[in-house]
Subunit: 480 residues, 2 copies
């Protein structure tokens, strides 16, 4: 049960070590500030990685990959990997605690983007790039998880997105995922480069364009400036961000199909049209309520960049939208929970679960007053059975439960009421900025108590792994 997951983790850490070696070399060349930290981290990751690979090499020939191995691999790669990846921060000239280093890293790989670092504008550029790369890797990691792993693990309704072409049984993953991984990775790289080119044309420096394109495609939200996107104060840059944040929140499998079968496939996708409609709808609602003068295009741009950022769970900000009025605080708090499409890099509840809630609640309502009605409901061509309904609804209930317990625990660490609520929401939904003076879009998480930071880390991981992938490990039966 443990062989293949540990082998895979070992390979991941070897990969991490390689990237850290490259960063050590680059840092020595470019800024000469933190190459020692990257080098130490590279050696540590490499030693543990090689150790795991050689210890579990025999498992490579084990063809059996069962459900429990899948869950263990998932948990290992999203906890041990970021712990190891936090050492470049810890051994840097930032002089931060291990808690802060781990916070920054898990906030990165989960593509949450809450930061404890200040004065980003004067940071070692290689550390800024390290943050962006962590988000970028986390982003493609979650797409691959969503496409290859989650449907197999049948988490939170993700079984609806099983690949038609794959012949999976309930007990094993029989398809060769190599080609699919290659296609998704190629698409991810291509979109990132396209985004970087657009940012650059719109006026960013090459370094800023590279960093922001990586955190945009990851819907991560790490920036190279304390003022986030607001630093640029440039409508062209805002619209490039809007378009690519939205693109990153759409299902990546849809792109692959559109490339093969033509772009008309997008209209028949079960999620994309509704998501885009909702997105534009929220722009228009926001713009209708924001009465601060200026022409409509300027208002729409201001609203669109911040609304898109929160709905897609990216977390960039162009300004402190809390100052737009009391109604907007509730508005942005509500938007935190939406999220993009399944199979994208974005987090939170996601549009398909809201659709399924509507379908199941409607069907339930109808059965209440007319029990004899026979209803066959489908979603994206897949028949909706009760098992899927339980899966989605249990997800929603537990999601709210995790948010509530999180907010409650955060309040006990001394956070005030709106800060505790929004911190729990923004961490669980992997958005990034919260509300209030401390952790708002103009704020920073560095002053929170350490305990609060660890609670937030737990919420980020819970949210990113769709709750159940992590919670199964706490079921005593799992280990029997």
């Amino acid at each position: 049960m443990l062989g293949r997951p540990f082998l895979a983790l070992g390979l991941l850490l070897c990969g991490l070590s390689g990237v850290e070696f490259i960063f050590a070399a680059l840092d020595a060349t470019v800024s000469d500030e933190n190459w020692q930290g990257f080098l130490i981290s590279a050696i540590m990751s490499g030693l543990i990685g090689v150790g795991l690979v050689s210890a579990f090499w025999s498992a490579a020939h084990d063809k059996h990959f069962d459900l429990r191995s899948g869950f263990i691999l998932t948990a290992l790669s999203w906890t041990v990997f970021p712990l190891m990846a936090s050492f470049p921060f810890f051994f840097s000239d930032l002089d931060i605690s291990l808690t802060d280093a781990v916070f920054e890293t898990i906030s990165g790989v989960t593509t949450t983007g809450s930061t404890v670092l200040t004065d980003l504008d004067h940071l070692d550029p290689m550390l800024l790039l390290w943050r962006s790369v962590l988000q970028w890797i986390g982003g493609v990691g979650i797409i691959l998880m969503a496409v290859l792993m989650m449907p197999f693990l049948r988490i939170g309704g993700m079984q609806l997105f099983q690949l038609e072409s794959s012949a999976r049984s309930e007990t094993g993953l029989h398809t060769r995922p190599g080609a699919l991984i290659r296609d998704i990775a190629a698409l991810y790289v291509a979109l990132t480069l396209l985004c970087a080119a657009c940012f650059s044309i719109a006026g960013m420096s090459a370094f800023d364009a590279l960093n922001h394109s990586m955190s945009t495609l990851a819907t991560g939200g790490y920036s190279t400036h304390d003022a986030s996107l607001g630093y640029f104060n440039n409508a062209a840059i805002y619209w490039v961000a809007i378009i690519f944040m939205a693109a990153a929140a759409l299902p990546f499998m849809m792109y692959l199909r559109a490339i093969k079968e033509g772009p008309r496939i997008i209209a028949s996708d079960p999620q994309a049209p509704l998501f885009l409609l909702m997105l534009v709808g929220m722009w228009l609602i926001g713009a209708a309520f924001l009465n601060e003068g200026g022409d409509y295009f300027t208002t729409l741009t201001r609203v669109a960049v911040n609304v898109t950022s929160v709905i897609t769970t990216t977390g960039f900000a162009s300004e402190d939208y809390q100052l737009w009025g009391a109604g907007f605080i509730g508005f942005f708090f509500a938007l935190t929970f939406f999220g993009g499409c399944a199979g994208s890099t974005s987090g939170a509840i996601k549009i398909y679960r809201l659709q399924l809630l509507g379908l199941y609640a409607g069907a339930h309502l109808r059965r209440l007053h007319s029990p004899s009605i026979v209803q066959a409901t489908t979603y994206g061509g897949v028949k909706l059975d009760r098992e899927t309904g339980l899966s989605v609804l249990a997800f929603l209930a537990l999601f709210v439960g995790a948010f509530s317990v999180g907010a409650f625990a955060l309040a006990l660490t001394g956070l005030d009421f709106p800060t505790a609520l929004s911190a729990s929401a923004t961490a669980l939904c992997n958005v990034g900025p919260g509300l209030g003076a401390v952790i708002g879009p103009a704020g920073n998480f560095s002053t929170l108590p350490d305990l609060a930071k660890w609670i937030l880390l737990g919420l980020m991981l819970l949210g990113r792994l769709e709750l159940f992938a992590l919670l199964v490990l706490f079921d005593p039966y799992f280990w029997r």
Copy 2:
């Protein structure tokens, strides 16, 4: 489909008219302030009641009472009845708007207990008694609904509480509920009188004891004083309130069974032991965090009376517990959602739904990693099937959805963030007081905009009728 519901509504209004005539006579004798208002209201209710009864008298012989009639009767009796019952406020010397009169009445019959009236201490005693009676009627109304109607309508998991002795089919209510109504009403009256006697012995005036006993048994929370229970500042009164609030949040069918089969039945009730355990647990947690000096018994009393009040959704307050510290605001906000047991007068989510969420989420978790496990789970001796699971989980998801939409709509009317959140929660959960300076335990709902009051009324009714009983009417298929 409409005959029997309208006949029943007519009978209800005739009853209302009778009570209003009695109040007119009493007011003329006691205070001589508002007997005209009660008289006008009595005549209006009587005319409409008699009109409906004579128009639909032929339906009395219609033996068929189907699901849709049940839903229509439910909706009619919880909207038209309180509208008619609001006239004594509107035609009184309070000089309040129709919105405020309706707010006070629906807040009464739904046993929410949010008030728009100020200076209660100097109000016409007959109006105070009218408020208490509205809550008291609403309280017994919801118990009868929960025992006789909800399991038949299969709302939000209530099908688990079908009476074993009744032989119901899916199409009709075949049992004679007369004896059961009589037993429950007798028990309700007896508990109210016992509570009034205890309040009186503990130090209340006879009038206060009567009013508070009615709003305690209803878990309603209307008081005869602006300072609520805090007016008395008397530990004996607090403990009487604690015991009877808790008693009112336990299943009334359990009492009837305990009377017949002995008190040992209580230990085997699926809800009661866990509820009482949770209640005492919350007392101890609260008392552990409340460090304001004083002996432990005083601290425990202060915590217990307010915690019990919120958990049972009564809404009495002995002081402004928001001053106990930032953590307590989140604590009381969280407690708002709990609620008592199904088949009691209390509202909110209720303990059995939290138990079922745990059971279903646990079973789901187990099936995720071990799909071949066969699990048969029961609750209170009833086998849990997927249909019940969908019913409970859809309830939970929609409950959160209603809370969120409510908070959002309230924020748009101009309420600040914590006020909007807690107002939505306290209305939907039928608790009464919210958080913040305006609607907190020391506050009052009178200054809210009219639109906010109507939104809150909608939430109170949604919460009281377990969402689905009201939502089915908005399904176009319902009317075909």
